[in-house]
Symmetry: C2
Subunit: 330 residues, 2 copies
């Protein structure tokens, strides 16, 4: 029972996504509800900007569904900032019960799976799921002050400035959450903080293999399998690793970090990353394809690299996790 | 439906707790499964020591119940370290699906509530709940390097070196989880990082008032109501605030941060705090009182101060949350 099947099919009532300037210039620009060129969102720090992005995203998702806070029984949220303050601060004064999560870039899939569990069980009438990241808050926290202008390696990913928010409920709606398979912590001793795709690919493989074993699927029936966010390096590695295991992954396999930017035109190295990447790509692009009926059945595999700057300085390897969520038209 | 009632009464199959030297000298010493005087647990950093404490705690809880990892379908865990690395690193290579949480000192109550939801829903056969903190990792992350020897104010609390772990399941066992009420984010503009009790007391009050409204209880039927961790300052403040709201709290109201130390004999200022405080006090002292039948019905109210050193430097106030879990003999 490590694959949670939701018989009551918690439905996606509403999705909203907010992005920054680089995301506005990317190929998925038109799928965002709102993008903002000013990295500070008109405020005086990037930390406040990320929080503001979350506040906007939560307000938008409720407006779009015409749902009031008191009609939502639980919110799951997380981000990359130490102590997840972009999330907790965004919920100050809101009439919304709050459970904070930390799963690095896997946070969105984790929050979606847990929100689905809460709604499917009948305990929550509706549940909200939110994840965010901001290039400037992440860069200075995990790497260097931005003013330092450090060079990035080709394998490094670019933290997405973005947030995505979903409301799940039993309301009539064509798209629902069918399954959730939480990931195990996998660590194959990758240590390069500038190649997180390499650390996360084995975790994605572990979850895909477990899912295959449980469901006997050959993955060909899905309209898309989206990791988030392995980037170009990690996705390549996932293909190599899965070939080695005899697992055949279809050509519809793609990555949210690759989709969100144009890697030829935009200087993003191996692609996007960050808790806000798969969150905003799902809430914009992926959800709209499902809503339009262009796709019927997809897998989102949220991958997170669970190191910290402290563990990196202490020369530790990078543990990773990958949570799988199956989203389908009902 | 903001109070989750668990009709299937997820049972506590097993509890384990590990503590440090100060906890060994405290009044609850005999309730720990294991205590260790060496702050580094024989390793070379405090960060590794906290992880080791978690590894020991998870191993102990499974040994005590004679349960193998493959019999547990989901683990919820969190700690105070940036990116919650004491938790994620402790699960490397374990066959245990993992969801990371961040709720500061409220993490244990959050994890217990979510684990109960997973088991009650029938999705997970068993779920594990873990939280930890370590005085030395927290002190140098949130405040100053320990070598600096800074003076602490009388209202400040002492981060507990401890971990607590629970396995919930449908196995026959006398103690179960009856209710879970996730808290809302409350921020009354307290800004003093050395008086977190003041920031958290209004969140505890908010949850108690919501619980009273929902259940019409007068709280006198409980054998104990335990906040975790308001400390002496915060508990005093909770009493003042509740009097003002006309909410009468019984004399059985106490705080895990007060219980764990002897504030006369031990130099701990306002008492204990940290995600490992309520976790280890629950898994040791509180659970044993329930198991022995001395108590029948208690409330645990995990309170978390959700600021970060960055938000404090940016002169932000401290948002707080309080999650309520009702634990009863069945």
């Amino acid at each position: 029972m490590r694959l949670f099947c939701f018989e009551n099919r918690p439905r996606i009532v509403s999705c909203a996504s907010v992005g920054g300037g680089l995301e506005q210039q990317g190929p998925l620009s038109s799928f965002f509800d709102l993008t903002e060129n000013d990295t500070k969102f008109g405020l005086d720090t990037w930390e406040k900007a990320e929080r503001r992005m979350n506040e906007l995203c939560v307000s938008l998702v409720m407006q779009k569904a015409k749902i009031l806070p008191e009609e939502i029984d639980l919110a799951f949220a997380g981000d990359l900032m130490n102590q997840c303050t972009a999330s907790s601060f965004a919920f100050r004064g809101r009439d919304l019960p709050y459970c904070g999560l930390y799963g690095a870039c896997s946070t969105f899939a984790e929050s979606l799976g847990l929100a689905a569990l809460a709604v499917d069980s009948g305990k929550a009438r509706r549940a909200l799921s939110l994840a965010s990241s901001h290039f400037c808050t992440a860069e200075r926290q995990y790497r260097y002050p931005l003013e330092y202008g450090n060079q990035r390696t080709p394998t490094s990913q670019t933290t997405v400035t973005g947030a995505g928010c979903v409301i799940l409920g039993q309301d009539p709606s064509p798209v629902g959450i069918l399954e959730f398979m939480p990931g195990r912590i996998v660590d194959l001793s990758a240590k390069d903080m500038n190649n997180m795709g390499a650390a996360m690919a084995p975790a994605a493989l572990d979850t895909l293999l477990r899912y295959q074993k449980e469901t006997q699927t050959d993955f060909s029936g899905f309209d898309g399998i989206f990791t988030g966010d392995l980037g170009a390096e990690g996705l390549k590695m996932l293909r190599v690793l899965s070939d080695r295991e005899g697992l055949s992954l279809p050509s519809s396999l793609n990555d949210c970090g690759i989709l969100i930017y144009d890697r030829v035109r935009q200087d993003v190295h191996a692609g996007g990353s960050g808790a806000g990447c798969s969150a905003s790509v799902f809430c914009g692009y992926l959800y709209s394809k499902l809503l339009d009926g262009e796709w019927n059945d997809i897998l989102l595999i949220g991958t997170g690299a669970l190191m910290s700057p402290t563990t990196a300085l202490q020369k530790e390897s990078i543990p990773a996790v990958a949570h799988l969520v199956r989203i389908r038209r009902c």
